[in-house]
């Protein structure tokens, strides 16, 4: 059987924080299983404005008797997400996916460290959930660093607290948790996590990942999710390029949509 575009039926779409929405939808069972880190491309059938589908990470996933239930956590930043935010219960979306690669699973690392900036919490939250369910021994090793601009942008905290051993929150303006960037916190804490015994998962703005790369200095096993503008989502258009190191030591452009969105931090070439 061939994969196809699925029709998702929205059953909830609520503003969970200012400009941040949680959308829950039903999909046919044939949508299949999901790996943490994967995403979907969504669009409103028949609408040519906005023209392209929008990539959104899968925030949660579960199977019911007759349906897959998918949750997307998204921030309203432009026309496409604005229109998504306006959809009411019962509306339908075209959903292509699940797309892309997932995060590599931990080996025997003692410390499983998550670092999320803003909406970057979406794929990491699914990963944390996945690890707790499938490798219950992970839970006590999971430490989550959650950064946001202010208390009004903190997302999914309750869930994370129930999953992880510790959740450290910081905000740019200090309105919740520590004041500062999440990378400031990591810079301070990193010595607690010896490279050989630690796996790090990160998702967030480019600037955050770049700083993280400097902090980690190539010494850690670290998977990050990248974002790039996308047209096809399946590897055909070459639109979503990111510069990566090649085996031979050279550079090449990989496709975020199918070679990623998860990449080893050490693979990426930062300009």
């Amino acid at each position: 059987m061939h994969k196809n575009i699925f029709i998702g039926e929205i059953c909830a779409n609520d503003e969970v924080q200012k400009d941040h929405f949680l959308m829950k939808m039903y999909l046919p069972r044939t949508f299949g299983a999901v790996l943490p880190g994967q995403f979907v491309m969504v669009r409103i059938a028949g609408l040519t404005d906005p023209f392209l589908s929008r990539p959104l990470s899968i925030y949660s996933f579960s199977l019911e008797q007759n349906a897959c239930v998918l949750e997307l956590l998204y921030r309203v930043v432009g026309k496409g997400t604005q229109i998504l935010a306006g959809l009411i219960e019962g509306s339908q979306l075209e959903v292509l996916g699940p797309l892309g690669t997932g995060y590599a699973m931990p080996d025997t690392e003692k410390n499983i460290v998550f670092i999320a900036g803003g909406i970057g919490v979406a794929p990491l939250s699914l990963l944390a959930e996945h690890l707790c369910v499938n490798s219950p021994s992970c839970g006590p090793n999971m430490i989550f660093y959650l950064g946001a601009q202010s208390s009004r942008q903190i997302l999914g905290l309750d869930k994370l607290q129930s999953l992880c051993y510790a959740v450290h929150v910081c905000t740019d303006d200090g309105s919740f948790g520590k004041q500062g960037l999440v990378t400031d916190l990591i810079r301070k804490d990193i010595k607690k996590y010896p490279p050989g015994d630690t796996i790090i998962y990160a998702c967030g703005p480019k600037a955050m990942l770049k700083t993280l790369n400097t902090i980690l200095g190539g010494k850690y096993r670290c998977d990050v999710s990248l974002e790039e503008r996308m047209a096809c989502g399946v590897g055909a258009c070459m639109g979503c390029a990111v510069a990566v190191k090649e085996g031979s030591g050279g550079a090449a452009y990989a496709r975020v949509c199918c070679d990623g969105p998860v990449f080893g931090l050490n693979q990426i070439i930062w300009d």
């Binding site: 575009i5 589908s53 047209a231 055909a236 258009c237 070459m238």
Partner: protein
Amino acid sequence: MEKRKIKSVNPLRVGLAGLRLKNPVIAASGTFGYGQEYAQYMDLNRLGGIAVKGLSLKPRSGNPPPRIMETTGGMLNAVGLQNIGVEAFINEKLPFLRQYDVAVIANIYGESVGEYSKVAAKLSAASGVHALEVNVSCPNVRKGGLSFGADPKAAAEVTRRVKGETDLPVIVKLTPNVTDIVQIAQAVEKAGADAVSLINTLTGLAVDIKTRTPRLKNITGGLSGPAIKPVALRMVWQVAKSVGIPVIGMGGILTVEDALEFLIVGACAVQIGTANFINPHAMIDIIDGLEAYLEDNKLKHIDDLVGTFKT
């Protein structure tokens, strides 16, 4: 007996320039990867043809990101012809494509006339390529000036040289960024092109008003999608009535209705590009739609529709 024979003819079958297509719907170059990428979304055997991503002599890494930007009714791209190079295509991608009963059209590109002919020669020696599509029009990669496709002499020269290297049907793919596309089409026809395909993308620009920088790292990019359909249709019509060789039409086709417009003004086949991105099922829908249209309009064969535009 006779009756039966006629009935068994595939009404969508198209023969063009020595290329046999089971239907006139072809995936446009650069929008369908090397076929593989969409194989899990459809049965590639259903397609008339696949024009693969533009191939150059050596692998090309393409332009730095951002490479794409959405516009009203379309998109800009400046991929910069990233591709694995003709050798890797032959070794790594053709074997996959050979599994399918679909016409494989190798879209080729060169920075010089010599490079075009070398790529053409290599592909002609390989098995599983059914035609060459010569991209003389890409607006993203320039070598100090206008593209080959903007100059009738240069376009004819490339055509002649590629023809000299191959026995495969040669389709020359024209750029719309010209004053008179008919002149270019006639020049390549004279130079031996077996068919022309059009249009490639219109060159465009988008600006980020916050940073006052271009939205694409390459500055300009190629505009595709339904926004350009009226321009594409006009050019296909102009060319179809001015040349004797078959015309393959494209530019902004999303639906079977769009495809029909191109066929009516004289295209023998159509290519579907940007539509694949927003609906991986678009080509299948169009093929089914063409069949239904023929039936509804009591047309025995797609040829009875092509070029029936009444002006």
